[in-house]
């Protein structure tokens, strides 16, 4: 993939944090183009239970500027790793009800293998590295969801 085509592809990507409902159909149309033949999407939405407890609703908060930066890094990384065309990665913040989409990822590619691999890599990496936090509200209280510790450089000394 030449540098200029990568840059062009990234400009066409849609990487966003939003507070309103995510319009999956519009994002799929954004990534769809005539030279593609495959789109794989991942839609993550609010389950009605968590570890057997009935969920009332969720609240997501983010370190917004850093989260957006990390999401853009993921998009750049999958363009580099996989033969894909366009990417949409959108995460919603604030209060979400049961069944509402919290994250939507769409990846278009000429061939399906790259689209599957890139979409999965994107959501797996998002869940490990993007500074977003979910608080689960139940009838009798609320808890911060268990999460993952992002990988960090081992030592500033060895890095410099």
């Amino acid at each position: 993939m030449a540098g200029s085509s990568t840059v062009k592809a990234i400009e066409q990507d849609k990487i966003e944090l939003v507070r309103a409902a995510i319009d999956a159909g519009a994002l799929v149309r954004d990534v769809r183009a005539g030279q593609d033949g495959a789109i794989v999407t991942f839609d993550g939405f609010v389950r009605n239970e968590s570890d057997g407890r009935l969920t009332s609703y969720l609240e997501y908060e983010a370190y917004e500027s850093m989260a957006l930066g990390k999401m853009k890094e993921i998009a750049a990384e999958i363009h580099e790793k996989f033969a894909i065309h366009r990417v949409a990665i959108v995460h919603r913040l604030g209060r979400l009800e049961i069944g509402e989409t919290s994250v939507f990822i769409a990846v278009s590619a000429p061939h399906r293998g790259a689209a599957f691999d890139a979409c999965r890599f994107a959501i797996d990496t998002l869940k490990r590295t993007v500074p977003i936090w979910k608080k689960e509200y139940f009838a009798d209280g609320a808890v911060w969801a268990d999460g993952e510790l992002p990988p960090t450089p081992p030592s500033a000394k060895s890095a410099s």
């Binding site: 995460h91 994250v103 500074p131 936090w133 969801a145 992002p150 960090t152 500033a156 000394k157």
Partner: protein, 88 residues
Amino acid sequence: MAGAVPSLRVKVLFFGRLRELTGLAEDDGELPQGATLAQVFERYAERYPKLAGFRNSMVVSRNQEFAAWDTRVAAGDEIAFLPPVSGG
């Protein structure tokens, strides 16, 4: 902290349960020259003792990049203390 050792100012952010625990979303910190991110954390752990117990279940970022705890801070840095992430 003022006095013989020159000091520098940084912005410090807390998120998720760390924000709830400190009641602090954002703070302007003043630190001695040469301070590391670990030392910044220790400062706040003294002020908010409950923070100390989270030292091994959090990460720190400097200017929106995950950073090692022995990284030295510079004037104007944006430092954030981040619990395990749970987006998606």
